[in-house]
Symmetry: D2
Subunit: 453 residues, 4 copies
Amino acid sequence: MIDMILKGGTIVNETGREQADLAITGETVTAIAAPGTLTEAREVVDVSGLHLIPGAIDMHVHFREPGYTHKEDWGTGSQAAAMGGVTTVFEMPNTDPPTRSVREFRDKQARARKSCVDFGIYGLLAEDNIAEIPGLIEVGANAFKCFMGNTFGNLPSPSTGAMLEGFEIIAPSGLRISLHAETASIMAWRQARLAAAGLNAPLHHIGARPEIVAIEAVSRAAVLAEWTGARVHVLHISSAGELRPLAEAKARGVDMTGETCPCYLFLDSGDYDRLGSVIRVNPPVREPRDSAAIWDALQTGVVDMIATDHAPHTPEEKRNPVIWDADCGFPGVETQMPLMLTEVAAGRMTLEHYVRISSANPARAFGMWPHKGRLSVGAHADIAVLDMDRQEVIAADRLHSRGKVTPFEGRTTIGAPVHTLVRGRFVQRNRTLVPDIAGHGRQVTDIQRMPQP
Amino acid sequence: MIDMILKGGTIVNETGREQADLAITGETVTAIAAPGTLTEAREVVDVSGLHLIPGAIDMHVHFREPGYTHKEDWGTGSQAAAMGGVTTVFEMPNTDPPTRSVREFRDKQARARKSCVDFGIYGLLAEDNIAEIPGLIEVGANAFKCFMGNTFGNLPSPSTGAMLEGFEIIAPSGLRISLHAETASIMAWRQARLAAAGLNAPLHHIGARPEIVAIEAVSRAAVLAEWTGARVHVLHISSAGELRPLAEAKARGVDMTGETCPCYLFLDSGDYDRLGSVIRVNPPVREPRDSAAIWDALQTGVVDMIATDHAPHTPEEKRNPVIWDADCGFPGVETQMPLMLTEVAAGRMTLEHYVRISSANPARAFGMWPHKGRLSVGAHADIAVLDMDRQEVIAADRLHSRGKVTPFEGRTTIGAPVHTLVRGRFVQRNRTLVPDIAGHGRQVTDIQRMPQP
Amino acid sequence: MIDMILKGGTIVNETGREQADLAITGETVTAIAAPGTLTEAREVVDVSGLHLIPGAIDMHVHFREPGYTHKEDWGTGSQAAAMGGVTTVFEMPNTDPPTRSVREFRDKQARARKSCVDFGIYGLLAEDNIAEIPGLIEVGANAFKCFMGNTFGNLPSPSTGAMLEGFEIIAPSGLRISLHAETASIMAWRQARLAAAGLNAPLHHIGARPEIVAIEAVSRAAVLAEWTGARVHVLHISSAGELRPLAEAKARGVDMTGETCPCYLFLDSGDYDRLGSVIRVNPPVREPRDSAAIWDALQTGVVDMIATDHAPHTPEEKRNPVIWDADCGFPGVETQMPLMLTEVAAGRMTLEHYVRISSANPARAFGMWPHKGRLSVGAHADIAVLDMDRQEVIAADRLHSRGKVTPFEGRTTIGAPVHTLVRGRFVQRNRTLVPDIAGHGRQVTDIQRMPQP
Amino acid sequence: MIDMILKGGTIVNETGREQADLAITGETVTAIAAPGTLTEAREVVDVSGLHLIPGAIDMHVHFREPGYTHKEDWGTGSQAAAMGGVTTVFEMPNTDPPTRSVREFRDKQARARKSCVDFGIYGLLAEDNIAEIPGLIEVGANAFKCFMGNTFGNLPSPSTGAMLEGFEIIAPSGLRISLHAETASIMAWRQARLAAAGLNAPLHHIGARPEIVAIEAVSRAAVLAEWTGARVHVLHISSAGELRPLAEAKARGVDMTGETCPCYLFLDSGDYDRLGSVIRVNPPVREPRDSAAIWDALQTGVVDMIATDHAPHTPEEKRNPVIWDADCGFPGVETQMPLMLTEVAAGRMTLEHYVRISSANPARAFGMWPHKGRLSVGAHADIAVLDMDRQEVIAADRLHSRGKVTPFEGRTTIGAPVHTLVRGRFVQRNRTLVPDIAGHGRQVTDIQRMPQP
Ligand SMILES: [Zn+2]
Ligand SMILES: [Zn+2]
Ligand SMILES: [Zn+2]
Ligand SMILES: [Zn+2]
Ligand SMILES: [Zn+2]
Ligand SMILES: [Zn+2]
Ligand SMILES: [Zn+2]
Ligand SMILES: [Zn+2]
C-alpha cells in the first residue's frame, strides 16, 4: 500500500521533466506514474501546478554547535534548511571544540540527532590532528575540511606538508576533502599592512584577501590532490582567477569539484558601501567581472554546485564598527533556493540545470547518489515542492536561523519551496515548519558510497 | 487503466538503475514503481531477473531500398533491428536512386512504412543537390549524410566548397550532418597506386585508406562546422588519429559528435588473413592501437555513441576474389547489442554507460530526447529487455538480414535482448519475431526537436 | 688584402647591434671590427651614421618571365629588388608555361641569369605533374609551390590526394613547400553566387574569399605536413582565423612557417572605396581585426617572416571596371623595406626584430643560413645599408618594376636602403641602380642545405 | 692598435660558427676577421684547431665566504671557475652571516674583490628581511635567492605570504629571483617520518624529498610570479614532474627560466649504492626517467640553461655515515664544461646549443647581454678556448676547489677549455692557472640591464 501520492505536479530531474504523480512508501519514492495511474494511497496530496525537485543538498553549513549556540544550533539550523528546501546538509568542524578527533566527532553526532534534515559531519584536517584522521574515518566522518586560510574560529591552517600527509591518509577512503582555499600567510601579511596603515573600511576586506590568495590555494590543492589521488572540493569560489587552475586540474583528470555561493553570484564590490560590515565574508565578495565569470563557470560545469556557507552570527557580532573585528559570514541555507529560482524565472538557467547543481552534483560528488540527488523509484523521498510563481521578500527577522542578518534583506524573489519532505515526511508544509520534526534527520553514513578511486 | 506491466525487472538508465515495475499505456511509459505497487493492468509480463533498458538507437543503417533489395529491404532490415534490441534506426541515402531530392525522399518514406521499428531518413548532401536541400528539410529529412569519400553506391563526394554551401543551408534547421569522413581524392590516388602495383590482398585495403584519410576529413569537417554553426556527426570512427581533431573541436565548443561500430572495437589487422574479403569495410578495420584508442575514447566521451553501419551484401558480393571488387560492409544491427553486452559482462563497461552510448546520447544528438533514450514516465515505451546471462553463438545464417555474412561468425556472446518493444508493442518476444508487426514503425519527425543552435 | 671596408656604421643582426666597420673580400664578409681597427683596403666606403643589415630575403615574388614579360621580367624585377634592399628572391612558377617539369625549369634558369640579385626558383606541385617532381628536385628546384586555390595564371589547384602524393615525394629532400592557402572549391562556389547576384564591387572580393578559405586550407596543409613530414610554408597570411591552425601545428612540432605581406599589415577593408580595383589581391586585404592579429603574430613568432608577393600587372590590367576581371596583386619588392622601417621608426618593432623576420628567418627556413641572413665573417656580403631618417614618398611611376600601380601611392616612409650590396658588390648605390649589374645574381642551390628532417 | 689576436680558431656562437681570427683590445672583442685579414697586434696567440666560445656563465655557485672558508673562498672558488671555462659566476647568499641586508652585502662585495672571474652577488629573500630588500637593490644586488626549502645553512624558508611581499617589491627592478624550489614543510614531515622509522640509507634521501616537493614549489612560484610580474628562475631542476608547471607558465607568458645541473643529467638512482653519501645533494638525484625528461627539456628550451650548484664541502663533512648528517652538494664549476662537451662529442647536442644554454641564455635572463653571452665586436672578451679532442679523467684531488669530493670521480671526459680569458686577460692558459689573477674579476652591476618588465 502506497503511503502518499503527490498528485498533479511536474517532476523535474537534471535530465528532464515529466508530468506525473509521485508515490512514497516509507522513506522512498515507490512510483512515478502518469497522472491518474495511481489511485490508492493512505494520503493524497494535491500538488497541481507545482514542480517537484530533489531537495537541495548543501555541502557547506556552519550550525555552530557545540560552542557557539547563541549563533545557531542543530535545531534552528536544520529548521532553516527545511524552510529553504534543503534536505541534506554537511556541517563544518570549526565549532568549539573543533571536530578534530573521535571524541569531538562523537559529541557532535549526539548533538546532531535533533536535526530535522539529513546530514553529514565534516572531520577536521589540521596541522596537529593528522594522527586522528584514521579514527575519524572509522567513526563515520562524511568528508574532511581543511582550512588553508583562517576564518571564523581561527583554526590554524595546516602547512603544505601536513596537508600532503592528510591527503595521503584520506585518499584510500575516497572521502572528499573540502577546502577553504585562501592562503593564510598571504592574508596575514596583507592584513598587517592594511591595519598598520589604518585602513579599516569594509572594502579593505577585499584588499586583505586579494584574488591571489584563492588562485594560489586552488593551484596548490590541485597539485597535492593529483599527487595523492585524494578527492578535493573547492569551497565558496569567489574569483575569476581561481577558475583557471580548477579547470586545468579537471582537464588533467584530477577529481576536483567546486562550489560557489549566492553572495558571489548576486553581490559585488558595488554593494560594500550600502551593506557595510554585513557583507563581510571569507572569501570576500569581489568585482563584477568575478561574478560574471563564476556564473559562466556554473553553466559550463567548471563550478559543479551551489552551496550556502551558511554562517550565522548575531547582529551585534556582524555590525562591529571596526571592520577587522566584525564577524564574517551570514545565514544562507534558507534563502539560496528562492534566490536561485528567481534566476530560473528570469531564464538565466533551466530548472533542470538548477537540480544538477543543487542536488545531483553534490549527491554524486559526496557519494550519496543514487539514494539522493534524483527523484526516481528507490531513491529517498527528499523533495522540494516548488511554486515557481510565488513572490516573497527576504527579511532577516523572518528567517529561521538565529543569525538575523542577511545581505539580501529586502530583495524580492520569485519561486519558493512551498513544501519540503525528507525521506517521505513533511518537515515544512505551506511555508510553515511542521511540528515535532526534531530528530527526523539522519546521518548519511549508511548510504554514502564514495566511487572507486 | 494500464495496458501492460513489465514486472520484476531492473530498470536501467544512463544515470542509474532501480528495481521496479514498468507500466505502459498506449505508446508510452506511464509508471515506474516499486515492485508490487502497481497491480491492475490489462496484461502483466513477468520480467523477473531481467534488465530493461531503452532500446538502442542506431544512427547508421543501410536498408538498401530502393534499388538493392536483394541485399536488404525495410522489412528484413527492421526485423533484424527488432531482433537486436534496436528500436529506432536512421537509414542512409546511398540507395538507387539516392535520396537526393523531395521525389526520392517521398518514395523512400512510402517504402519505409513497412518498418517494424521507428526510423529516421537521411537526406543526401552532395555536389549536385545543394538546391534540393531546403526541400528535403521541409519534407522531413531527419538528418543529412555527406559522403566525403566514396563507398558503396559510389556517390561522388562533394567538394569542400559544396560542403560549405550545404552546411550553411542546413545550419539554421539544427539538423545534424553525418559524415563518411574519408577523403576521396587521397583514396583515389592510393588505390590507383596499389592497383598499378598489383597489390590486391585483403590487407591492402588498409593501404588504400590510410589513417590520414580520416584525420584529414575529420579536421576539415570540424573547421567547416565551426565556421557555419552546422552540427556534424562523424560516422564509423576507425582510427586513433582522427580522435585528436574531434576532441579539439569539442573543446573549442563545436557541436560535433562521433560514433564507432563494433568491428572497430573487436577486430583489427590481425583478423584479415582469417577473414579475407569478409572483413572489407569502409573505413577499414585498422591496428590494435586504433581499437584501444577508440575504446578509451568511448569511455571518456570523445566518441559519443555506438552505431552499426549495418551494410548487408550477398555472400557472393562479399567474397569476390579480387579485393577491390568485393563489396564493403556487413550486417550489424542484430549483433551490436549482444557483442557490447558481452563486454559489459566482462566488466569493461557498466550497463549504465552502455545505455548512454547506445540510446541516450543518440537520442540527444539527433533531437529525440526526451521521448526516446530513457525509460521514464512520458517517454516512448521503446524497450530492450535483457537477459544478461544468456549465451549465444553468432551465426550468419540465423541472422534476419538478407546479408548472410558476418565477420563475427562463431563468436560467443553473453547477454541478449530477449524481448523488444517499440512504443509499447512487442516486436520481438523470446528471441522470436512477433507476427504482423510490419508497419508498426513510425518516422521520428513529429517528436524530433533539434536543440537551439 | 681586404677589398672594401664599410666604415663608421652600425651593424645590426637579429641578436643585437654593434658599432663596427665591416670588411669584404671577394663575395664574403671577412671582418667585423671596432672602428679604426681595420686600415688597409682597396676601397673604403664611409657609412657613418648608417645601419648595415643583412639584405632582405623575399620568399615570394612573381617576375612573370616567361610568358608575361609586359608585366615584369628577371631584369626589371631584380632591379626593383636591388632598389628595395632585397638581395635574394624566390620566384614563383605561375609563368607561361608554368615551371612544371625539368624542361620549363631549365628554361627559367636560363632566363634568370640576367638577375642582379640572388635567387631561388620554385617548382610547381600540381595535380598533373606529380611524376615530374623528382626531376625538379634533381635539377635544383629550391622550393615548391602549391596553389590550393587559384590565382593569377589559373593553375588548377591539386586535389588533397595529389597534394599528399607530392608531399610524400618532396619530404625526404627537406625542401619546403609554399602554399597559396585558399581553398579553390569554396571560392568557386562563392564567386559564382556573387556573380549570379550581380555583386561586382571591389569589396565583394572579400565576400568571394571569406576567411574560411584560409582557415580550411591552412588546417588541411598542417594535417598533410604532419602526416608526411614535409616542411610547409604558408604564404601571404591575411586573416586572424588562420593563425590558430598555424600556431597549433607549430605547438605539435610540425615544421610549418608563415609569412605575411605589407598590404595585410597596412591596409584593411576601409581602403577599398579609396583604392578600388587597385587593392585587389589574393588573398584579399581583410578587416582591421585581421591586421591587428597578424601584427601581433609577427611579434610573437607565429608568423615567421615578411615577404612581398610582388605581383606586377599593367595599370590597364589592374583597373578593369569589372572587379572579377581586374588582375590581382601589385608590385612590392621595392617598397617593403621602407614601409617596415617606418614602423621601426615609430617604435612598433626593433630593427633587430625586423632583421629576424626579413632575413634571418627566411634564410633558416629555406636552408640558406649561415651563408645568408646575418652579417658575420664567412657569410655572404649581402647588405642593405640604411638611412633610418630618410623620408620618401612612394610613387608608382618611380618604381623600377614594370607594374606601375601600388596601393601605397603617396604614402610617406621613414627609413630606406641607400645602398644594396649582393655578395660584396654594389647593385644599388645612393638610391640609384649601379650600371652593368645584370647577371650578378646567382641561384642559391650551391649554398642551400635544408636542415635534417 | 690591437692588443691580441687569437689566430686560427673557429668562433662559435649560439647561432652559428665561423673560421676566423679574433682581436681583443682592452677588455673587449674588437674584431672578428677571416684568417689572415688581421695582421698587426701586440700579441698573436695561435689557436689553430681550437674552438672559441663565450665563457660559461654559471648562475649558481656557493663560494662559502664569509663563514665557511674551510670549504671554499672567493679565491679558490673563482680559480676553479677559471679552470672550468667559466668566466662569470653568481654567488649564493647562504653564507655565515647570510647576505640578508646592506651590511652583509657590502661585506661580501669586499671579499669578492679577490675573484679572478666576473661575478654577481645574490641578495637573500627570506621571511624576516623583507624590509631590507629595497636597500639590497640599491646597493647592487644582481639577483635574489629565495629558499622555498631548506638546504645547507638552514635558512628558514619564507612563507608564501612573505614571498609574495618580496616578489612585489622586487618586480619593478626587473631583477630575477632564483628559487630553491622544494617545499620545506613537505620535507620536514617526510624526513621526520623516515627518521622515526630508522630509515637512514643514502637512497632514503629521495624518499624525504619526493618529486612532489619540486612540483608544488614550482607551481606555486609560477602563480606568484604571474600575479606580481616578478621574474623568477627555477634552480637545479631535478624531476620530470616540475617541467609541466614550468612549461605551462612559460606558455602563459610568465617570465620564468629554469636551470639544471650535470648531476641531474648524468646520475640517477642507480648510482646511490656506488656513491653513498657523496651523491647527496638538494634536490636529490632522481630516477632515469627524470634525467631523460630533463635532457629533452634542455633541448626544447623548457629548461633554459646549465648551471653547477657548485657546493663544496670537506670530505669529512660529505662522508658522514648518518645520511641525514652528511652535507649536501659537491663542487661543480670546474667540471661542468668537460662533462657537457663530452656529450657534444657524442653528438647529443651541438656546440652551438651548448653555447646557448651555458652562456647566451644566462646572459639574457640576467641582463648581461649583449656584453656577455656572445663573441662579437663590442662584447667582453670572455672566452673559453676549447680543445674538442682533449681527453681527461676527473679526479677530485686535482680540482681547484677546496671541496675535494666529486660524484664524477674517475669519469673520462672529451673536450676541455685549454685557455680561459676574462675581459681580454688570460686567467687560465694551457690548463694551468695564470699567476697574479686574483682581483681581476669585477661585479657585473655596471653592465647589467634587466629587460623592460
Ligand atoms: Zn570557508
Ligand atoms: Zn564556511
Ligand atoms: Zn560510411
Ligand atoms: Zn555506412
Ligand atoms: Zn598566392
Ligand atoms: Zn603570389
Ligand atoms: Zn638549492
Ligand atoms: Zn645551491
